[in-house]
Amino acid sequence: MTAAEPRVLLVEDNHDDAEMTQMAFRMDRIPAEFTVARDGAEALDYLFSTGPRAGEPLLQPALVLLDLKLPRVDGIEVLRRLRADERTRRIPVVVLSSSNEAADAETTEEIGIERYVRKPLDFGEFRRAARLLADTWLRPEVRRGDA
């Protein structure tokens, strides 16, 4: 595992947000290989090798960045399914949400997340948040110890 960049699953339906999140990582040269799921169902297909990915081997991302308000299957449901399955239970999940409703943070923290981040308006803050996440969850030794 020398050159391979850590896989990050970004679950985000907003194209602008998806692009900005990836830019924030890229501008600070944080190594990450992004896969973007446009809704909860796509995210579940990716995580459990179902639907279009049926038959393919499980891909364990190093980190899931999860928006909550999603079409079809919402973020909270994705989180529940992920935490209920032995194969995906230990994948770190950071919620990236527009909402600052206390209930959203409480619900997701109860189910089990690594961190709740409210998407900052200020792009500078967005970049600082990305760096913090990368330092915490995408360092090689952390990933190896987890695997």
């Binding site: 907003n14 602008d16 947000d17 900005m20 830019m23 501008m27 308000k69 949400s97 527009s98 909402s99 600052n100 409703e101 998407k119 900052p120 308006l121 200020d122 792009f123 500078g124 967005f126």
Partner: protein
Amino acid sequence: MTPDSVPTTSVPKDLAEQILQAGVNGIFSLDEDARVTLWNRRMEQLCGKPGAEVLGKALFDVFPFLEKTEGDVLRRAIRGEPGPTARRDFPQPPHGRAGFYEVTYEPLRREDGSPAGAFAIVRDVTEQRRTEEMLEESESRFRIMADGAPVLLWMAGQDGNCSFFNQGWLEFTGRTLEMEAGVGWAGGVHPEDFQHCMHLYMNAFVERRDFRMEYRLRRADGQFRWILDTGRPRFASDGSFEGYIGSCIDITELRESASALGRLNDELEDRVASRTAEMTHANAELEAFSYSVSHDLRAPLRAIDGFSNILLELHAAKLDESGRHYLTRISKGAQRMGELIDDLLDLARLTRSEMRPTHVDLSDIARGIVDELRRADPGRQVEFLVGDAMPAVGDARLLRIALENLLGNAWKFTKARPDARIEVGSGLTAAGRPYYFIRDNGAGFDMAYANKLFGAFQRLHRESEYEGTGIGLATVARIVHRHGGRIWAEGVPDRGATFSFTLKENGA
């Protein structure tokens, strides 16, 4: 003495004499010509004449006044016809005691049965008569009272049969005492109430306790009226049970207004319930609206700010100074709008959140906020005066937000003063209720605009002078109103402002 030697039908003469003399009753006898042959001691006392003056003389010669009342019966007795027992009132006899006597005459006969005169027993019944009179008087008093009372009264004996109904009852039912007596009254009870009524009545009689029952009773006009009947056992002076006495009132109107009240109450409750449901629904809609505002409205702003920044950083070389300046302005505008959205959402959340009132000390809260303001801006020199103890009842979290806004304003609007001074205190209104105030010597305001102070997004100062979204005082006003209080402000331009508020003005 052997038993057979004792005569059973007669007693020795001296013994008979003793009995005659010792009796509490007056006894005298007359011969066929109405001459007195016996006059005992009691008669001497009653008539004031000794036997010596009377014996052997014709009774009517000695007491001529007796001729009128006693002549006939006495002569009949002498002829052998037993006379009736009669009561005689002798109010003022010429001799002896005035009083009331019961007199019995009996014929006397010889052994062959022929008339031989008569004898009389005179019993003094004056005391008995007096008691009877008193009893009669008390009974008539009771009747006057019972008949005059504006209630229906009844009395029943030990067996439960009614023996008395007052005039009020009889007029109500339009029936006579004879018709109502016994269990006759029960015929007027509504058939639907009868069973329950009799059950209660009979049970009370067995247990001899007070009872209350409601039933419909037919009035003289045929209409059934609701009656409240209260019964109470009667006991004689020796404690023995004598029956019941009861009183009834017509509670038809009372019941009707009670049930009307009940209906009104039900209606009111229904209305409250439906309003509450509407409110809950509206709140839920507002919640969903706020959620989507917070989520969706911010997304484009993030894009504006984000892409402006990316442009500035990755494509800076292709832009001149003025191009970079405009991009910065775009980014600032987006952030400003983000702040407005957040403040608006906070204000909306204030209205929805549940109140949890406790005892709080506003001076404690104020001191905490002052510390935070000083830490955040250590360069400022501000004199703070916070009153010692300002107890209040309210939601601690909301009151803290209110004080944060008021103290934050005072801090902000005194920034141009080298001798900035902020005071937090309390006092009593004219009505004697506590009020709290925050006073500063800052920029102040023109009282002509005081009515604009508490509206959302209202500003009295240019944003370039004092930053802020104009939502702070609207937030404070909303918190004060949610506590049932009032807020007002006084200001002089360039001299300072005072914001005062009360909590829970209406109610305890």
